[in-house]
Amino acid sequence: MPFIPHTENDTRAMLAACGVNSIEDLFDEIPPELRADALNGIPAGRDELAVSRLLHARAAQNAQPLCFAGAGAYEHHIPAAVWEITTRGEYYSAYTPYQAEASQGTLQLLYEFQTMVAELTAMEVANASLYDGATALAEAVLMAVRANRKSKARRIFMPRTVHPRYRDVVAAIVRHQGITLELLDYDSAGGHIAPASLPTEPADITALIIPQPNFFGALEDTDALTDWAHAHGALVIGVVNPTAMAVIAPPGEWGTAGADIVCGEGQPLGIPLASGGPYFGFMCCKQKIVRQMPGRIIGATVDLEGKRGYVLTLQAREQHIRRSKATSNICTNQGLMTIAATIYMTLMGPAGLERVARQCHANTRALVQRLSEIDGVEILFDRPAFHETVLCLPRPTAEVLAGLSERGIFGGFDLSADYPELDNTLLVCATETKSAEDLDAYTDALREVLG
């Protein structure tokens, strides 16, 4: 019985105190006919040594090609200090900070996190995390419906330049709320939402979603889109990449009034790729609609002696108080990930994060430049991009990716399943982790595969 401390003497004394003869007696309220048989489908227990062998073998079965895929998950360098501190037992093994006085470490850190996220996005306030970028967008849609009291239509404009998986998740989560998700098509030259393509006199719209950069890596015309939405009574929901925020205009400054709700995937801020999770979603908003925000929010207050301290606040929005009327059913969020992200942002600072963003941009540009010199390889869209770009290939993408994979290269994301009109295209990304030799290695491999 690993992890159970009881000696035989303990068990005996404890049973006596309970007034029973055996542990089995303690289960006597369970109807006997329901009692389960042995769990034969589960293997016998193993010690840490044996499990360690198995897991090392499994980890080795995962290939680790040189990765040029982004598409929502980005390989960034994570300073060693981030996880050495994050996994300290006091952070790792604590619960949600319900007892504030015994959780000032986590609480102060989350207050710092909220500040940093608000700073990155230039928004007024932030919450303490949601599950991931996709669910954060779904929650943003629900929040927009609550917050935009003037709009009755529950109608959301969702561009096709939003991450396809995010669109799936939004659809799955808001399905039962009588919300209409209206897809906006992108400009085939720019790969972005052309403001001119938007209806000039639209019916009631609740909110417009603006991704920045968008799924193709292209930069949307955020000022024009924001002003258009506000002019038509719609709220603006920004979905942004946090690394890009170091160099790209933040949603709080889009257009005349700025975005109303902002969310995104926090993974680029110090979270390992790890086959997709755990990551974390972040969410910000204008202070005036903060009572519509889902999730935990930390606030500063004072103690009995007037000393500053931090607590979970605005709990009246939450399921444990408001129950069926809560802003969301979320309870457990992604606490530990936000701890890592806070330490990451601190270690990078504004200058460091900007340098990372610039290097990502420069690397991707350099890569795309080299690749597009190969016969038949072309850059698809002409909008400015941050750190991803769509390439057209002279051969089916799946074939090309398989060929690259044999050469130890994960060449990017095949768009054809999500955008049937974009067959033979590939979304590539080169973060700051890629050296000039890496870019050459990709270029050489692609030339070989195509040649």
């Binding site: 160099v247 000393k307 444990h320």
Partner: protein, 488 residues
Amino acid sequence: MSNEPLIFEHSRPGRVNRAQSAHLGGELNGIPESLRRKHPPRLPEVSELDAVRHYTRLSQKNFSIDTHFYPLGSCTMKYNPRACNTLASLPGFLGQHPLSAARDSQGILACLWDLQEMLKEVTGMCAVSLTPMAGAQGEFAGVAMIRAYHDARGDAARTEILVPDAAHGTNPATATMCGYTVREIPTDDQGDVDVAALKAVVGPHTAGIMLTNPSTLGVFERRIHEIAGIVHEAGGLLYYDGANLNAILGKVKPGDMGFDVIHINLHKTFSTPHGGGGPGSGPVGVSERLHPFMPIPVVGRDDNNAFRWLDEHDLPQSIGRLSAHMGNTGILLRAYIYALMLGREGMVRIADYATLNANYLMACLRDAGFDMALPERRATHEFILTLKRQAKEPGVTAMDFAKRLLDYGFHAPTTYFPLIIPECLLIEPTETESKETLDAFVEAMVTIQAEAEKDVETLKGAPYSLPVRRLDDVKAARELDLRWQAEA
């Protein structure tokens, strides 16, 4: 312990941690000025030492399993084996991109497949999807499947979900998110669902019922079979909130109790870390009839027995995706490692000793003069102590006891939940705590009771020995201060 300023207060303009970025940079060629950021974000400007020292010092202000007994009812704060973290952090796992081809991902897929199989076995369900990212998302998946099931049958009349009044807040909140009206079922004085009341409300408008068993009152719902019959007969489905699975692992399977769908809080029963509020993981298990509706992706096998992701092509009736990828993979991995170490015998032992610890602690506290909310019932893995009597005389509340416990080096139990028990402490010791720790907790409770009898102010002023004294929640909510602001 000395005060630790905000990291922003450590910040100095122009201070740079050059080890992380000195050699990076590049031009923003191609990006027009209009799209660029004008003012840098005011992230802290500190040295690496400042950062390490600040966050190390902050960490010491937390109570945690690794430092304190933490009997927080409903939360299953058990030991989080370090091996789970170490092994889940192997570079081969951490470095993998979520969109990697299946051929490059057989290692992680094999782990997830195995975990799916294990969870099927312990829950008695016929299939499992690992994707929900916490209990509440598992609940969402479950209720959404119930809805998809009724919808697929063209049964549009079912607009209500039944929820016991003792239920966790996520249950009614989830039902609402799935577009249902919530109907509360009262609890009888023995802590069981009031079956008469249930019968009175169940009907053709009933989509289903959400239950935990053992319930949040810390007792086993004895008439579960009867309840299942009533709901099923009315055409409703049964949802099992698996947050309390620790109590019954290997003892009784939700599938055998008649449940159609279940979520499991891996961050409780399978001991993945709570991380100061997450990440969790809430896989769902389903019966045959809900199988087509499972959230994707799910791990399957192809003809060559290689693992692959099943998606909308394999499960066209799926309720869809609940995360951009496959949920909290790293947490799933930790749960898998834990399950491997426990094995089939270890799992049953968890229920044995979690139950023994709870019943022992309850017996000791009762012998010490405290009142139990349900004195005639067995404790399961947790139980409820009520301080209703003490709240009258001498006039100390559950909150006062909770805060004073902190001074004695114990995290407080859950307070004021479930809502239907006045002045309650929901106490869950878990199986990983020793008899000595439980005895010390009883001793502290007895001491606090004596303090209360002597002078209530002692408790009202608590805690005294923590980084802060009792904090003003009301002020926090009234005078919102949600972030640091740079001075003008």
